[in-house]
Symmetry: C2
Amino acid sequence: MSHQKSTATGGSKPRQSARERAYEMIGSAILAGTFAEGEFLDEAVLAREVGTSRTPVREALHRLQAERFVELVPRRGAQVRVVTATEMREIYQARFVIESDAITKICDRRLGPPPETRELIEAMETAGRNRNWNEFSQLDQVFHSSIVRHQGNAVLGEIYDSLRPRQVRLGVRTLTEGPERLSIIEREHRELEAALEGHDGPLSTSILNVHIQEVPKLVQAFSR
Amino acid sequence: MSHQKSTATGGSKPRQSARERAYEMIGSAILAGTFAEGEFLDEAVLAREVGTSRTPVREALHRLQAERFVELVPRRGAQVRVVTATEMREIYQARFVIESDAITKICDRRLGPPPETRELIEAMETAGRNRNWNEFSQLDQVFHSSIVRHQGNAVLGEIYDSLRPRQVRLGVRTLTEGPERLSIIEREHRELEAALEGHDGPLSTSILNVHIQEVPKLVQAFSR
DNA sequence: TGGATGCACCGTGTATACAAGGTGTCCACA
DNA sequence: TGTGGACACCTTGTATACACGGTGCATCCA
């Protein structure tokens, strides 16, 4: 999704389209919890706030529907989707199904970890030390995504990535509320890398299983 | 996706929106191969053909992008996506990953096949006898989707269903070109039902594996 | 004759005006 | 006082007009 342009990407203005601005503003507003869950969004109001007409706003809302941020009810408008604890668990289960499959295949074919793994792990540890949660979160996504894509199936790669924006909705919150988990995450990443290096499928999968369960466990603590 | 409304659904007009009409017309035109792969679609032309203005057409194109039918190139427009044999294989692999996971869990929990299974199998055999390929194809989707959803994870269910429109793009073609495969498909469905009934995970999975490979094998025959 | 530059045309991106449908309120009547 | 219906307002759905940017062609210069 790439809300909140990272410091690196936010350079010169590439003449961002109005639709893109609307998409990012509305998307991050939902992430930030500006709108109540279940609330209907008024296109005209949004347009005013973004500083454009309704047209780009409508297109942004359609994209947000595709990403499951809102529900488009005919003649009623865009309703902010309610994210339940159940759905969160399902998203993480889905992640595990796809990523563990990738890991198994990577080990079967003795591919080893993706080449950029080491670099990513170190970048994450730096971001962690600097308490830069957004950066940390994004790098975590790249780390896992690179594993899934290393397996070679682009369709599964896309699907895996599409789960990201949905989990981010709670991910940042959980991360900032439990930063002591950071060292655990980092250790697990290194363990996973080592297991992939050793082409040990079952071990890799069990590490991933524990690793991915980390977050939903946290979520459940303060779920509705 | 529900192009070509089935005979059952096509009853009285529920005041279908212009966007929906545009979506179905353009979508089925792509399925029918009316446009060349890689071709850029002209919004104004499409609007004229659908009988509406450009606005609903644009919204339809955005949805078709989400479903991977077209690629939206900024300032250039909607390009009909090229479907390669590789991508087809990847889609079927993805299906297998999700559905086999569902099957394994269904057997682990001793849930048995979904209640509607028997009914669906019989409806498919009727459709097959009547050489009604669209009906057959849709029922096949419902059959497999019901298995995935029987496992209980709605997110994985949605993802699985989203793969459908993409594979339909070649599915109908392969079906009409190889109708002798019909009895094989029907037999495998019954075998799968029996294996689920017996809570036999490995057997169910291996049946599914063979079953799902059927189509991409056909595809490869006349791939580029 | 080949390449580069500028201009014109065309198609997408955005804004705005208009149409249609639904929701809530207010009034009338039981 | 409660309930039912009609009307008005408000919001989405669609059409159209305008702005912006890119592509391709033609012309000019080397």
